[in-house]
């Protein structure tokens, strides 16, 4: 497997060229008279062309507004000449769902390719060999190597164990024997598992719900506290539930989980427990926003919102800005009689 300078260039998929009517991810390389020359990122940067007439469904007023050198975007494959390596592409015919599918697939393939390339580089082995023995079989068995890598995070043997390859060697009787051996050596397996675990350990996502909590009965504050504790008690070790005060009567329930569905379910249970407790004490709970996964942007908006409300809620002393008392001082006494006249 080892060679002097290992080849670190390889396409992501087993097929050398894409199929017709398939969406692929490209990068624009240069713009010529009749169209734009692009490289297909998933097929080891082979060259294709988008004719200007395939850029848009509408009349083009300016080509440069539709296509720029260096831009990465999905396009549809129109025609492929597999013998000579020519590929016609169209930006106009790719549908919205094709765009989504293509981008998702490309992001997965890019991560897989990055891991494979890193393993090949650190172990000084041929990247194409790695793909032939590991990558492409995983694509075949699991639909996408990305899914295989996800399983591999927790259970490497169930993914890599079935992979085999054939080696021909001469037996003791001089006959050539085909022998089936594991496709993955221990060295490759360790490097692969280590890289995959570092790159693909899933990050917990945050789930949040906004509620209004009120109780105007005697000892209402105590009852609200009790309801909050019951809500937090509804969480478990995998999905701990926390409840915070934003500004009365607005509260926010949050949890973190690897499993989105489970997190939403737990949070809904917490809301139910809270509702039950506060209604026992004749209070009221209103769900302003149901349980949902939140993004970074939502998190930042919530932080800003809470800071603003905290500022509004602060007390200020009424006499803090009173002005100083002004002293009324005179000019002093002047004796006008002494030396007032001019003596000649």
């Amino acid at each position: 497997m080892a060679s002097q300078t290992p080849n670190l260039e390889c396409r992501m998929y087993e097929a050398k060229y894409p199929e017709v009517d398939m969406a692929v991810m490209i990068q624009v390389k240069n713009i010529a008279d009749m169209g734009a020359y692009v490289s297909l990122l998933e097929y080891n940067n082979i060259e294709g062309m988008i004719l200007f007439s395939e850029l848009s469904r509408r009349r083009i007023r300016s080509v440069s507004s539709l296509i720029k050198v260096g831009r990465i975007e999905p396009v549809m494959v129109l025609r492929v000449d597999k013998e000579k390596g020519y590929i016609d592409l169209s930006k106009r015919r790719v549908s919205e769902e094709d765009i989504q599918t293509c981008e998702e697939r490309y992001n997965k393939s890019k991560l897989v390719h990055s891991i494979m390339r890193h393993v090949a580089e650190t172990l000084s082995i041929d990247l194409e060999d790695l793909y032939v023995n590991i990558g492409w079989p995983l694509y075949r068995r699991h639909g996408h190597a990305f899914e295989a890598f996800k399983i591999l995070v927790t259970d490497p043997d169930s993914v890599l164990g079935p992979l085999t390859r054939e080696i021909k060697e001469v037996g003791p009787d001089g006959q050539e024997v085909t022998k089936v051996v594991p496709a993955v050596t221990e060295e490759v397996k360790d490097a692969l598992v280590k890289n995959i675990r570092r790159r693909m350990t899933p990050q917990p996502m945050k789930i949040r719900a906004d509620i209004e909590l009120k109780c105007f009965q005697f000892d209402g504050v105590v009852h609200i506290k009790e309801a909050m504790k019951n809500a937090e008690a509804a969480g478990n070790e995998d999905c701990p539930v926390k409840i915070k005060l934003v500004a009365p009567p607005l509260y926010v329930l949050t949890t973190q989980t690897l499993d989105k569905e489970q997190g939403i379910e737990i949070l809904n249970k917490a809301i139910a427990a809270c509702t039950e407790t506060i209604e026992t004490h004749k209070g009221k709970l209103v769900v302003k926003e149901g349980a949902r996964a939140v993004s970074e942007r939502d998190e930042k908006m919530l932080t800003e919102h809470m800071a603003k409300l905290r500022l509004d809620n602060e007390e200020m002393s009424g006499d803090e800005d009173s002005g100083d008392e002004e002293e009324d001082t005179g000019m002093g006494e002047v004796d006008l009689d002494a030396g007032a006249g001019i003596i000649e």
Binding site: A32, D33, M34, G35, G48, M49, L51, F52, S53, E54, L78, R79, V80, D81, K84, Y86, I87, D88
Partner: protein, 409 residues
Amino acid sequence: MIFLEKATVYYLQFFHFEEFSQEKKKSMWRRSPSFILDERRSSNSPPMADTTRGPFQNPDSISAYYQTRAAHHGVITSDWLAQAQAAVGGVSGDAQHDLSVTDLGNEKSFNVIEEFNNWRKQPDLAEAVAAIRALAAVIRASEASTMMELEIELKKASDTLKSWDKTSISLTAGCDLFIRYVTRTSALEYEDFNSAKSRLLERAEKFGEISCKARRIIAMLSQDFIFDGCTILVHGLSRVVLEILKTAAQNNKLFRVLCTEGRPDGTGVLLSSELSKLDIPVKLLLDSAVAYSMDEVDMVFVGADGVVESGGIINMMGTYQIALVAHSMNKPVYVAAESYKFARLYPLDQKDMAPALRPIEFGVKIPTKVEVERSARDYTPPQYLTLLFTDLGVLSPSVVSDELIQLYL
């Protein structure tokens, strides 16, 4: 934008020229606004030696422009016959020479030149139209199954044709316009490549037909400008201008034509011969007799080798001079040019163009120390031109830029 860029380049050249003039005061008489040409002369090497010869470039030192003009003369005279045979022999020699240097991989490139030369042999066919026909043949002969491959083949063929004669403006413009026109079609949307290819062929054939009919369209458009009793000054042997005069004669208009002699080609002699066959009164002038005769002229008709972005024209040597005289004496200058001669060039003066050289015979032996201006063409700025008669309509020079934008957008 283009003008600003060009002006900047020109300004830099001028700035460099200042330094140059200080360094070589002894050569002051040689100075030229174009720094590039001065550099060539200063290096003491012939200008043509700087040109890198492609495998299919005409190896003769004489520009193919001149050979084309000679081969395209419609008059069958003993001189023309000798020149035609020499040109054909030269072309055959070129073909033999090219065949020895090309391998099988270049067979298609060779074919496009052969096709072009075959079309060029027709005396009435313009050089650009021959190129357009040759490119259409490239599409027909292509075995590509993708649009990308077909585009690459067309581009190679076009580049080969252009490099055959770098000095021909209409050849370059015709190739560029053809490729732009042919590929600007919704037919490329066909899933089936053969349908798209046949659609391209239709566009190619149509472009060829339009180019062929351009001459007739221009002749029809210009009839309104020729009135009974007028006198027309003609310079050069333009087939479009000849068509205009022929149509006017067929419409029973009475007019007189003054032809410049057109040395050293003698284009005026040939033109006057053609016109006398049509019973048009014709008078032959020495080239230097233009100003003398301008009083009796009502309008000037010239053809064009190329129409540039500024609306000016590049044409046979002497056109600029005639336009200057006509402009100063308030005579209109009309240019008859096909639209495939519209080129994306913006020359600012005579030296901005690549020189198209031709042989000049003075009748007596020229001393070796004497330098001879051998350029075959000059550039006439748009302010000296009145109207352009094209197959796109009658245009004033200022709208040429707009038409070019329409053609190339």
